[in-house]
């Protein structure tokens, strides 16, 4: 019985490449990883948006209307729906002059209990320290 903790750190804005989105879909895949593992073994992901990566978290992304693809916003909400831990760097939100109101913070309309946590970079560093492996996107 073991748990491997993986930290998915998103440091780039959305849509230039699909990598920020792939961070979320890979983290969500932790829900089905047990088919490969022994009983009781787990993969525990944590997702953190830092630097320009916090721009992934803006509300009202119209990617489906404009380019026919599911928005990164939607993928963040899907992550909350399966109870993943999602962190956004407080200092970077301040640097961009964004109010918390402009940021995806919950997926209540989808029935998710989990919320996005706005935390200091020091908190995110602690998550990296407690993770077994780091995956930067």
């Amino acid at each position: 019985m073991a748990t491997t903790k993986l930290a998915f750190i998103v440091q780039r804005p959305p849509y230039k490449s699909e990598n920020p989105k792939l961070a979320l879909t890979h983290a969500i895949a932790s829900q089905s990883v047990e088919i490969y593992l022994s009983d009781g073994d787990m993969v525990e992901p944590v997702i953190a948006f830092i630097g320009d990566g916090v721009l992934n978290c803006l509300k009202n992304q119209k990617a489906m209307e404009t380019y026919g693809i599911i928005s990164t916003e939607n993928h963040i909400k899907n992550s909350l729906l399966v109870d993943l831990k999602v962190l956004v760097c407080k200092e970077d939100i301040a640097r961009f002059g964004l109010s918390e109101d402009a940021i995806v913070l919950d997926a209540e309309e989808m029935g998710a209990d989990m919320k996005v946590q706005v935390v200091s970079f020091d908190e995110i560093t602690k998550e990296m320290e407690s993770a077994n492996h780091l995956l930067f996107f």
């Binding site: 230039k16 792939l22 890979h26 593992l37 077994n132 780091l134």
Partner: protein, 119 residues
């Protein structure tokens, strides 16, 4: 001896990151380590059957075939490949296709994970 899991999300030929991943895998296997290589996003192009060697273009198909014979596990993200029109029959021999959870499972018991997610 340890286990190294490499994830690579960059395109074949266009970026040298897949070259890096394959050369690092080769060096690690030569030292007796186990290596898993996960290719996702545009990296799935590494798994395409029928790549033609030109001196102008990086040609990794040969190295991948040699390394899988030496125990390298290469798995391509199934959905990423399908989106690009790579179906099961387009996949190079010795390379597997699974969902993203395969990568997480490989990370689970890896001693080291090198995730190449840059652009």
């Amino acid at each position: 001896m340890g286990k190294l899991t490499i994830g690579c999300f960059s395109s074949l030929v266009g970026s040298m990151s897949l070259d890096f991943a394959v050369k690092l895998a080769s060096a690690a296997i030569d030292k007796g380590h186990r290596v898993d290589l996960w290719v996702s996003g545009n990296g799935t192009t590494l798994a395409k059957k029928g790549q033609k060697p030109f001196k102008d273009y990086s040609y990794l198909a040969k190295s991948v075939t040699e390394l899988t014979a030496k125990g390298l596990q290469v798995t391509a993200c199934e959905a990423c490949a399908e989106a690009r029109g790579y179906h099961k029959e387009d996949t190079m021999e010795g390379v597997k296709r699974f969902s993203m959870d395969w990568y997480l499972a490989s990370c689970f018991d890896a001693d080291r994970v090198l995730h190449i997610g840059g652009e």
